[in-house]
Amino acid sequence: MTDTQKETHREPRYMLVWLWLLILTVLELVAVYLRLPRGIFVTVLVILALMKAALVAAYFMHLRFERLTLVFIALAPLIFGVILLVGLMPDSLWRIVH
């Protein structure tokens, strides 16, 4: 009984992904160096970090080529993370005031 599910797609260009990860990392460091206003800085870094994470998940962890259900399962912690942060906000604000 052999596993008949073979890789039917072309292998991703791993070095291209690596290059983009490098570029995005450099952009993050540039953003730090530029001393941007806090709000913009946070937004830019979060977006860059998520892009890097998405590249690793999609191409290295192969999610780009898996069933969409598995992708959604893998994305679930991100949603819970946002819920966690939103849920903790009142505590943070309380601590500042008191």
């Binding site: 069933r67 893998a74 505590d91 943070s92 604000l93």
Partner: protein
């Protein structure tokens, strides 16, 4: 045309295949994914706690990371981990094409990357601890700075260490010829774990060191 499908074939080919689960991955791979997701939630808890404690600190009391940390060193650590993910994926690609020496070489490179990362992390920790940073306080600002940093990076470092051990086991098995074009799931799974460790570091690097 002979009807060669047995009952089992029909089950396997159905939408909820049973033979290949509805997600079209093996049980081993699915279990690794579920473990990674639970681990992601754990790290999410640590990062959420960090966010909350930092936001709850008096405004301006959080130490300036670019003054406390050697950001250039940490950037190199990030780069090394990314490179080790590439070598990991190349190791899997090699054994999928039957290239045993490629598997061995790329796995070895991945392990070296992990060890280099751990060494640099240990160096940074030592420097910070000798400067007075601990779980209880630090000389630069908010008291929560120390515990949030050490627990998060420490937990991650533990994962890297475990990963290096796992990679070494897979390398030894590879040297003994246990993997082939058809049988390489162990390599794939350890790769998934290693990419996860890299992914978490990407987030830690951004939120703990840069922001």
């Amino acid at each position: 045309m002979t009807d060669a499908s047995t009952a089992k074939d029909r089950v396997v080919e159905s939408e909820w295949g049973g033979g290949r689960s509805p997600l079209n991955v093996s049980w081993n791979k699915l279990m690794m994914w579920l473990f990674l997701i639970s681990d992601a939630l754990t790290f999410g808890g640590l990062l959420g706690g960090y966010a909350m404690l930092r936001m709850a600190s008096p405004p301006g009391s959080w130490p300036n990371q670019s003054e406390v940390f050697t950001i250039s060193l940490v950037a190199v650590m990030t780069f090394i981990l990314i490179c080790s993910s590439v070598s990991m994926v190349k190791a899997l690609s090699a054994i999928r094409h039957g290239n045993r020496s490629g598997l061995r070489n790329f796995l070895a490179l991945t392990i070296l990357g992990g060890l280099a990362f751990l060494g640099m992390q240990a160096y940074e920790w030592t420097k910070l601890i000798t400067e007075g940073m601990s779980l209880r306080g630090n000389p630069w600002g908010a008291a929560a700075f120390g515990p949030t940093f050490f627990t998060t990076t420490g937990f991650h470092g533990l994962h890297v260490t475990g990963g290096v051990i796992l990679l070494s086991i897979v390398l030894i098995k590879g040297l003994r010829g246990r993997y082939s074009v058809e049988r390489n799931e162990g390599v794939e799974l350890v790769g998934l774990y290693w990419h996860f460790v890299d992914l978490v570091w990407i987030l830690i690097f951004t939120f703990l060191y840069l922001l």
